[in-house]
Structures are given as structure tokens and as C-alpha cells.
């Protein structure tokens, strides 16, 4: 028997008349739910960091603006370090420092500033020129600079590069265990 023209293709299986996939996937509904999840996670992330992470990083300067650092080039930083006219300081976590750091750098991690500062202060005079770095583009060094200024350091500079860029420019990097990590911290 001849089928009606509009139903010829699908008469053998009533379920095979497929809605378009985007209707079956209900993209519109799901995109609105995804948008809500993204907003919720962004809000939760900010609240969590405000309460638990950022106060540990710079407890006494929560509401202070970041210090305006003097940015210097890698070439200038290298010259100053070579002439022993500046101290170069790695502000990243001890694990990252141990993995790779600019040769001669002292580790002063933002996350453990209070633990590391006494050792740092015993090595670096407050009149000395300091050059801070973390990774290219990261914002940790500005927070460390704020803390150092509060302790009386004045001549604080920064390079917008990390060990990768330093090594790529042909300057020496070191990979060694952080001498500032104590036995207790290792365990």
C-alpha cells in the first residue's frame, strides 16, 4: 500500500522522526544553567579566597593598594646582580623555587612570608636594592613588595619575567633544593 508522501521515510519506525539535535539537547536551557554555574563558582571562588587565601598572603595590608614597583629590564637586572649592586628575590612558592630559579636568587615566598622573612632580613640590608620576580605576568611580587615596604625596604624593583624567560635570554638559572626549607617543612 502506498504511503502518504509526507510520511514515507519514517513509516517503519515512529521514533526515527528525529527532532533536530539542538532541540533534543535543549541547548538553550543548558546554556542558561551553565551560565548560572559559572557565576556561582566565580562568586564562591572570590568569597573563599577573600576569607581563607588572601588574608594569609598579606594579612596587614588587605585594603591597601599594591605597591607601584619600578619595572626594570632583564638586562639591567642581570647587570645589577653581576655587579652585586642588587639582590634578586624569588617570590614564588618554595616548590617552584626548588624546581628552577634565577641563579643567586633568595626565596621569599608570599605564601610563607612570615616564616621566611627573618632569614631574608638577616641577609639583606634595608638600604640594598631589591629586584623581585615571580613568573611573567603574575601578581605575587607586588604583594611581596607591599610587605617589604612595611618592613622598611625602600629600593624595590621588579622584572616582568620568570626563570623561563631569564633562561631563554641566556642568563643562568639554578635548580636546587631550597636551603630555606626546614626539615619540619619538608616533612
Amino acid at each position: 500500500m502506498k504511503q502518504p508522501a509526507h510520511n514515507q521515510n519514517n513509516s517503519h519506525d515512529p521514533l526515527s522522526v528525529l527532532s533536530p539535535w539542538w532541540k533534543r539537547a535543549d541547548i538553550g536551557t543548558d546554556l542558561s544553567r551553565i551560565f548560572m554555574l559559572i557565576l556561582l563558582s566565580l562568586g564562591t571562588g572570590f568569597i573563599f579566597n577573600t576569607i581563607y587565601i588572601w588574608p594569609k598572603q598579606y594579612p596587614s595590608s588587605m585594603n591597601q593598594p599594591h605597591t607601584l614597583l619600578t619595572q626594570i629590564s632583564m638586562e639591567h637586572a642581570y647587570e645589577l646582580v653581576q655587579r652585586k649592586q642588587a639582590v634578586i628575590v624569588d617570590t614564588r612558592d618554595p616548590e617552584a623555587y626548588a624546581h628552577s630559579h634565577i641563579a643567586g636568587a633568595i626565596n621569599l615566598p608570599l605564601s610563607q612570608f612570615d616564616n621566611y622573612y627573618p632569614d631574608f632580613a638577616s641577609q639583606v640590608e634595608k638600604s640594598q636594592t631589591i629586584i623581585l620576580y615571580c613568573s611573567a605576568g603574575c601578581g605575587i611580587k607586588e604583594k611581596v613588595a607591599t610587605r617589604l615596604q612595611q618592613h622598611g625596604y625602600q629600593d624595590i624593583n621588579a622584572i616582568a619575567a620568570g626563570p623561563k624567560e631569564w633562561a631563554a635570554a641566556g642568563y643562568p638559572v639554578a635548580k636546587e633544593e631550597n636551603p630555606h626549607i626546614t626539615e619540619g617543612e619538608r616533612q
Binding site: 510520511n7 515512529p14 535543549d26 543548558d30 554555574l37 617552584a96 605576568g137
Partner: protein
């Protein structure tokens, strides 16, 4: 003898037991992947910065947002609500991870993934190790497609309600 109501491919895709296992496995993977990034946002920001694709101003924002999206998506999947939407979100995220890793490796950047560990001593990623991300992407896509609505019967297509 009655014809099967669905083609075999659709019956496999829609297998309820497989979908439950996928949902729980993906939920656990993303919850576990999120935790270290949540408690060490600075270390995660360093790794994101290493990919060299995002403007510096957005790195910290992504480091704060992304782990929480992974955690919330994992929890929502565990609970079993909004599964289709979350599966789509995680498919998109996993696709972006693969694209980001691939571009970094193609440019010769010695990259730490930051996917499941922030350990700087972790082995750098290579092309062969991408199978993990592709497996995760396939699982998320399966979970997404498996939760599409059932096809409408022919008579409903021809005379939609309302």
C-alpha cells in the same frame, strides 16, 4: 516479531547503567582535580601563565574561577541534577584544556599541565599523554548525548502540542 524501538547505537548511548557509572566517574575526577588548585590559587596561576595564551590581567581571575567550576560541576554531577548541562560544560572545558595543551606543545613550551597536580616536578606533558584528556572528553560527550531528550514520535512531530 516487533522491531526494536531504538537503533543499537542509541541503545548503547542511552544505557542507564553506563550513564550512571560515567556520571559518577567524571564527578570524582573533576572533584579530585579541583582541590589542590582551590587551596593553592597562586601556584595554579603560575601554571596558567605558563601556557602563554591568557592576558596577564585575566590569569588570576581564571585561577580563582576554574577550580570552583570543576568542584561545583563535580558535586552537581554526583547529586545527579542538571547532568546534561554539566556534561556539556565539562565537554567544552575539556576541549579547551586539550586545545591549550596542544598549542603549548606545538610551540615547544615545556608545560606542566596543572590538570591534577600542581607539583612543579611533575613530568612535562607530551603528545602521547593527551590520551587522558581525549578519554575524558569522550566520556563527557557520551554523558551529554546520552541525556538528550528522546526523539519525538512521528505524530507529535507532525502535530506538536500547543
Amino acid at each position: 516479531m516487533p522491531a526494536p524501538s531504538q537503533p543499537i547505537s542509541r541503545r548503547i548511548l542511552n544505557n542507564r547503567k553506563v550513564l550512571i557509572i560515567l556520571r559518577l566517574a567524571i564527578a570524582i575526577v573533576f572533584i579530585m582535580a579541583s582541590w589542590e588548585k582551590i587551596i593553592k590559587p597562586d601556584a595554579f596561576a603560575d601554571i596558567i601563565e605558563g601556557y602563554q595564551i591568557l592576558p596577564a590581567a585575566t590569569v588570576e581571575l581564571v585561577a580563582i574561577w576554574l577550580p570552583w567550576t570543576e568542584l561545583l560541576a563535580g558535586v552537581v554531577l554526583l547529586v545527579g541534577v542538571w547532568t546534561r548541562a554539566v556534561a556539556l560544560l565539562l565537554s567544552l572545558l575539556t576541549f579547551i584544556f586539550i586545545a591549550a595543551l596542544s598549542q603549548a606543545m606545538a610551540r615547544g613550551i615545556d608545560i606542566q599541565c596543572g590538570c591534577f597536580s600542581l607539583d612543579p616536578e611533575a613530568a612535562a606533558r607530551n603528545w602521547a599523554s593527551l590520551w587522558q584528556e581525549f578519554l575524558l572528553l569522550a566520556s563527557c560527550l557520551w554523558l551529554w548525548i546520552g541525556h538528550w531528550k528522546e526523539p519525538a514520535p512521528a505524530h507529535e512531530e507532525e502535530h506538536p502540542a500547543g
